[in-house]
Amino acid sequence: MSEATERRRPIAALEWVGERSTHAFEEIGRFFTMLYLTLYWSVRPPFDLRQWVRQMVRVGVDSIPVVGLTAMFTGMVMALQTYRGFERFHAESFVASVVSLSLTRELAPVLAALMIAGRIGSSLAAELGTMRVTEQIDALSAMAVEPVQYLVVPRVAATTLMLPPLVALADGIGIAGGFAVAVGLMDANPVVYWEKTFQFLDLNDVFSGLIKAGVFGLILSVTGCSKGYHTTGGAEGVGRSTTAAVVMASLVILLSDFFLTKILF
């Protein structure tokens, strides 16, 4: 290897680091710019209620099966696992409390958000990305319609507003799943199990889970919209944006989960 190549190597590495950092900062900047623009345009008329309702149905109602199934099986597995563990030191009576607390505080919001990131975050990025590369977003601007207001605001609002009720539903379904497994498979006493479910459960546990859900909804929808809105490079670009939206949203959800838990509990 020549001396010149040897000398260039550290410079290339630095360039790589620089490029990556610039890219990361660019992404963060785009996210917060999109968040700011969304908030800015969400309080300005015209308010497109029909769009809001349509998006709320898409995010909320249409996601009930996937979120419900996720929550049910999580509750069932939770009951199964904790029962097997707690059985070893005769603490089976606490299974119900563990299931209800972990579901409401942590599992339901995070898992529902991750499922919605896959289902809605990706479709937001793909939809807006396709609109970008086929100039539909430019066409909106050309018609004196602010694209962020018309496209992004209803989508972000719908996701942020619909995630808490979805998570509330997931809480209920998850607890019911745990109940079914404990009572049906492990012969737990249904009355005692039901009582223990709510014995240590605070209203605060449920609410903090719902607040988390709202924040996750905001994060995943802004990420999806921002990725889609800034798509370049045709069909391949749309694919890239869609993948990046899901990966980024999932990571940020898990990251912010830690800090939210620290703040809320």
Binding site: Q136, D138, A139, S141, A142, M143, A144, V145, E146
Partner: protein, 268 residues
């Protein structure tokens, strides 16, 4: 710049201020200069066609006219208001003077043809549903389309999409119409039909039109004046007949459809 003092504009507007004045427009993307100091006056009521090779900066220039792209330097003045300096609210107000037709139509594929054309009307006017329906039919008739209101965008052919795009662009009766490559990728017969629609709009509507194309035949049919952009600069502006006689080698190669020895744009 080779501009004729007696340019064949349909309405004599020489003494009037230009509808759109572009002054020293510069724009670069990732270090590559796309527009390099373009200055051009577009008069009220005229049909200006901008021609140029691929990558010459035509589309970028057109998007500057309506404020979809902000220049690095320079001004776009529409009816005395500077679009480049305007804030978002003013920008949206100025844009309402424009109607723009995009290369592939850029129709909203989540809506049918009727809703596409009705979209700007519903958004910007308080017209009743009956009036909107009447206006949509009127716009479709202007582009010679009947009975397609309830078709979805993916059911339309390329030429029909462009025409629906035209209909949507004229729905709000704009003062300025912009066409981005209206007949690129169409067969010659459909392209000629599209040109005919544009010429009819030019003759029947009180609009200023700016069209970009690389099709010289089409440019001659539509234009009152033709401007040639090359490497982000205006090479020449002249009425069609005069434009054909220009002696510039690049223009002659362009007209004859011959390769030009030093053409960097294609490579870029």
């Amino acid at each position: 710049m080779m501009e004729s003092p007696t340019s064949a504009v349909r309405t004599p507007t020489a003494e009037m201020p230009p509808k759109i004045a572009v002054i020293d427009l510069w724009k670069s993307f990732q270090g590559k200069e796309v527009l390099r100091g373009i200055s051009l006056d577009i008069h009220a009521g005229e049909s200006l066609v901008i021609v140029g090779g691929s990558g010459a900066g035509k589309s970028v220039f057109l998007k500057h006219l309506i404020g979809l792209i902000r220049p690095d330097r320079g001004h776009v003045i529409v009816d005395g208001e500077d679009l480049a300096c305007a804030d978002t609210g003013v920008c949206l107000a100025i844009r309402r003077k424009f109607g723009m037709s995009f290369q592939e139509g850029a129709l909203f594929d989540s809506m049918n043809v009727f809703d596409n054309i009705a979209f700007p009307l519903r958004r910007h006017t308080r017209m009743s549903p009956g009036d909107i329906a009447a206006r949509v039919r009127e716009c479709l008739a202007l582009v010679h389309l009947d009975g397609v209101e309830h078709k979805w965008v993916n059911e339309l052919s390329g030429g029909m999409r462009r025409r629906v795009g035209f209909a949507r662009a004229i729905a709000l009766a704009p003062e300025i119409l912009l066409f981005d490559e209206p007949n690129t990728g169409l067969d010659p017969i459909t392209a000629a039909a599209i040109d005919r629609v544009i010429v009819e709009m030019r003759d029947n509507l009180p609009v200023t039109m700016v069209t970009i194309t690389h099709d010289m035949k089409s440019a001659q049919r539509i234009a009152d004046r033709i401007a040639m952009i090359r490497s982000g600069q205006i090479l020449a502006v002249a009425p069609p007949a005069e434009f054909l006689r220009l002696s510039d080698r690049y223009i002659q190669s362009f007209l004859a459809g011959e390769p030009y020895p030093d053409n960097h744009e294609e490579v870029a």
